[in-house]
């Protein structure tokens, strides 16, 4: 049977919902899987609702368009639930039975009792994951919230790995076809300075991602056979083959 996850991500403008979904999608493809993405948003402004739909599978995907009945929902910001900042109301609308709701919050939220009852009825697995806190702790900034969530969901689905995720972050920030090699020294100083800055950015993002990955493994959320990503992914080896 095909491993297939339809994932609906909901967050607010500025959190990198679309970027996160791009990175997950690319990471799954990097790891030999299949994936498609459909972003959905209105006027682009901070704190305005954003949704992104990612399909990941180990078989070809034909389906198109928005995801109404997801297997997994990822809530990037508690305001999606508390303020209704979402195109989908309530936030779990259409979530399949035995589905997963991964929510970025520092601990369980007080959901309305009707909603809590409905989620229980559908046997939804509620995973509260402190992604923003993790981003602040590991990278010293909250901007890598999406990376923590993508690392976490990568481990939950088991359709990619840290090498694939690491490579996807590089693709995103360095552009496809950028080859990191021993010839870095040959680059002129401007490019090198720029590169160093970007390398730092990538390293931090990947570190947050790995922390998210391990959080999922440690809490027993990860797919079978998914292990902790203990040692830092060595960037040189990951890109030398690119």
């Amino acid at each position: 049977m095909a491993k297939r996850f339809n994932i609906r991500m909901a967050g607010v403008g500025g959190q990198g919902v679309v970027t996160g979904s791009h990175i997950l999608s690319t990471a799954v493809i990097n790891a030999g899987g299949e994936s498609t993405i459909v972003p959905f948003y209105g006027s682009e402004k901070r704190m305005a609702p954003v949704e992104s739909y990612v399909r990941v599978s180990d078989e070809p995907i034909y389906e198109i368009g928005e995801i109404t009945f997801p297997h997994i929902i990822i809530i990037f910001h508690p305001q999606v639930i508390t303020h209704g900042k979402s195109y989908t109301m309530p936030f779990y609308f259409g979530l399949k039975e035995d589905g997963i709701a991964l929510i970025n919050n520092d601990g369980p939220m007080n959901l309305h009792r009707d909603q809590a009852a409905e989620l229980k009825e559908r046997r939804v697995k509620l995973y509260y994951f402190p992604a923003t806190k993790m981003s602040l702790e590991v990278a010293g900034m909250d901007l890598a919230t999406n990376m923590a969530l993508m690392g976490c969901i990568g481990a939950i689905t088991g359709l990619t790995n840290m090498v694939g995720l690491d490579q996807a972050v590089k693709d995103r920030f360095l552009g496809k076809g950028f080859v990191v090699s021993g010839g870095t020294a040959a680059l002129d100083s401007v490019v090198e300075r720029k590169f160093k800055k970007k390398q730092e950015l990538i390293d931090k993002n990947v570190a947050v991602m790995r922390a998210g990955w391990n959080y999922a493994v440690d809490h027993g959320w990860a797919a079978p056979d998914v292990k902790r990503a203990e040692e830092p992914v060595v960037t040189e080896t990951a890109t030398a083959t690119a």
């Binding site: 095909a2 198109i64 995801i67 259409g94």
Partner: protein, 443 residues
């Protein structure tokens, strides 16, 4: 061309925006196009090696035009397909299309395509939604005037409340024009159907326009894998001199444009002429079947249909969703077959009668309110199949169809449970004659 002379398009606009930078002055910007080699359609469609690229539906249409030896393309860009004609404009800059201009609106564009085709050149245009309906006066007259051309319709909402998302209700307006109508599921279909369209359109025993439809944004703005032949080869040019209808010649009117000019007075002969004319148009639609079989591999594709008691019949994006529904049904232990209708005109009546003979349940999901495909299917297999036909689920206004809705219909159809998403009036068949009567009243 002297150095001061500025190259312009027929409307006087400088074409520097699409021409290569002046630094390439030594290199002929049309060089690559001039080096294109003509191959036979048989080689192009069946033998030429292909390479896979990940491109949008608009880009797929552009690449098809590049290999189709197109003489004239007229653009009136309307969302969501504006990119297509813009990209064809780039082809004009590169010399792959001989003539290209922007029309003022769709009435003018469709009339000009008629003029272009009548003068013997290969024509291409594209439009969408309200543009299709605005141009429909011209489009509806093309078949009767026996004008070969290819038009692409990237469907969008046309009924109120208006939106720019895909809803393929406009296809139902095209079905009765007398033109050939294909419905593309994905980017690959856009590419293949467009190229095959030119070839089929110009066959002497066809000589009809071809419409290639797809469901707007889902195909035009999304990327998919497209397997394409080398860009160094192209189809043979249109050979109007050997066509069934002589090219436009002021001294030798090639076709009768109105029935009984100048007074439009009718009499028996006039009606007779009209009947003969229309019969011949639709006979030509019938004659195109063999070419659709030859160049496109059939009017439909069937997957997993052997001994299947449940069939999903779909076209366009609904076929993509249905393919996933078949997979979900398989996981639930239900054997479901999928028939994708590629050609709506001519309609695969004979093929459906054959394939649906043993079916007990047929589900027809659609991206429009009226369910034109369900009506076509019901009409085609009436008397040849005892299957219960569920004309749904349907989504409209540009909504994506959740695959789960299709699975629901299969399950409720099999179990006999009442469907929650499909109205009784959309269901035909079963043993209850009242239901049949109700359905027939409703269509």
């Amino acid at each position: 061309m002297s150095e001061t002379e500025v190259k312009t398009n027929p409307q006087g606009d400088p074409i520097t925006s699409v021409a290569p930078a002046p630094s390439a002055s030594k290199k002929d910007p049309h060089g690559e196009a001039k080096r294109q080699r003509v191959v036979t359609p048989e080689y192009m469609f069946h033998e030429a090696p292909r390479t896979k690229e990940f491109i949008t539906g608009s880009e797929a249409a552009k690449e098809a035009v590049r290999r189709s030896n197109v003489d004239l393309a007229i653009a009136y860009p309307i969302t969501p397909q504006s990119e297509t004609m813009q990209l064809v404009g780039v082809l004009y800059g590169e010399g792959y299309v001989k003539e290209y201009y922007r029309g003022e609106e769709e009435v003018g564009v469709m009339a000009a395509i008629a003029g272009g085709s009548r003068s013997g050149v290969r024509c291409y245009t594209a439009t969408a939604g309200p543009g299709t309906l605005r141009g429909l006066e011209g489009i509806a007259s093309w078949p009767g005037h026996r004008l070969p051309a290819v038009a692409m319709f990237t469907c969008r909402v046309v009924n109120a409340p208006l939106a720019i998302q895909p809803d393929n209700i406009e296809v139902s307006y095209l079905l009765n024009c007398g033109m050939i109508v294909f419905h593309a599921e994905n980017q690959q279909d856009m590419f293949d159907f467009t190229m095959a369209g030119f070839t089929i359109s110009e066959k002497n025993d066809v000589t009809l326009p071809v419409g290639v439809c797809c469901d707007g944004f889902f195909v035009t703005h999304a990327r998919g894998y497209v397997r394409m032949q080398d860009r160094g080869i192209k189809l043979p040019p249109r050979e109007a001199w050997r066509g069934a209808v002589p090219v436009l010649d002021a001294e030798n009117p090639p076709a009768r444009l109105s029935r009984d000019a100048p007074v439009q007075k009718s009499n028996f002969m006039a009606y007779n002429i009209h009947a003969v004319w229309q019969q011949e148009v639709w006979a030509a639609v019938e004659r195109s079947r063999k070419y659709i079989d030859r160049y496109m591999g059939g009017l439909l594709t069937a997957e997993n249909v052997d001994d299947a008691e449940v069939l999903i019949i779909a076209s366009g994006s609904a076929a993509a969703q249905s393919r996933e529904a078949v997979r979900l049904c398989k996981e639930k232990g239900m054997k479901v077959g999928l028939i994708k209708v590629r050609s709506l005109r001519p309609f695969p009546t004979k093929e459906l009668r054959q394939l649906c003979g043993k079916a007990k349940l047929i589900v027809v999901p659609e991206f429009n309110y009226v369910g034109w495909l369900a009506k076509e299917v019901a009409t085609a297999i009436y008397g040849f199949s005892n299957a219960k036909i569920i004309g749904g689920p349907r989504v409209y206004g540009g909504q994506s169809m959740p695959v789960e809705l299709i699975v629901d219909e299969v399950e409720s159809g099999v179990s006999g449970k009442k469907s929650t998403n499909v109205a009784m009036s959309q269901i035909m068949g079963g043993v209850n004659p009242d239901e049949v009567a109700h359905f027939m009243r409703s269509i």
